[in-house]
């Protein structure tokens, strides 16, 4: 992908399209960025998986210990087993 953007705070680089996708989620736990997110919303709406917004339950001021617990609980063995993607005939 050529449309990369780098977050100035974390140094993490992602594609611009993903940045648009993540933006509404970010807005939920970071009301301080609300104005920018409102500007981005019409674009992001095309990208975002709308339901994702509903299930992201970030605390606004998470401690490092809370984050560690959340991350440990989120590892892939806890993702469940999705249904097959093979066409049903």
């Amino acid at each position: 992908m050529s449309d990369l953007v780098t977050d100035i705070q974390t140094g993490v680089t992602v594609s611009a399209s993903l940045a648009e996708a993540v933006a509404p989620i970010v807005a939920i736990y970071n009301p301080g960025a609300g104005a920018a997110m409102q500007l981005l919303a019409p674009v992001a709406e095309q990208f975002i998986l709308r339901g994702v917004q509903l299930v992201v339950d970030f605390k606004k001021d998470m401690s490092a210990d809370d984050m560690i617990k959340a991350l440990e609980a989120s590892k892939s063995p806890n993702w469940g087993t999705p249904g097959s993607v093979e066409k049903v005939v």
């Binding site: 993490v12 991350l71 993607v85």
Partner: protein
């Protein structure tokens, strides 16, 4: 000039918004905690997209090749995510510069996978993702 300033501000805020810029009530959040939130958000995108494509794939709405590609990326993302989490936890526990760099690299890999999965799903107008 005003337009330039507005665009610059908008770009700055957009990039800032990517990983939350992490201010809550004016208090700065540790960047490493912010990075953890971004990681969780990426995971939600990946898992949500994989769930959302299941029925359209089974119904043949999305081509077989695209379905298998997204499923492959999903499976790859599990390994990358777990490695990213391990690195992030080390960083949260006050790890070294190397830990921080590894966490950033793994998160970038995961973002790439999430981007690919979401972009391909959206090509077929997949919108879902509620668990």
């Amino acid at each position: 000039m005003k337009r330039f300033v507005t665009l610059t501000l908008l770009c700055g805020l957009s990039i800032c918004g990517l990983s939350a810029c992490a201010t809550t009530a004016g208090k700065a959040e540790a960047p490493v905690v912010t990075a953890g939130k971004s990681l969780l958000a990426l995971k939600e995108i990946i898992v949500g997209t994989r769930e959302a494509i299941t029925v359209p794939c089974q119904q043949g709405i999305i081509p077989v090749d695209a379905c298998r590609q997204m499923d492959d990326w999903y499976n790859q993302s599990k390994t990358v995510y777990d490695a990213a989490v391990d690195a992030e936890i080390l960083a949260l526990r006050g790890g070294s510069e190397t830990d921080l760099r590894t966490a950033g690299e793994k998160q970038a890999q995961l973002a790439q996978l999430a981007s690919q999965i979401a972009a391909l799903a959206l090509r077929y107008h997949v919108q879902g993702g509620v668990k």
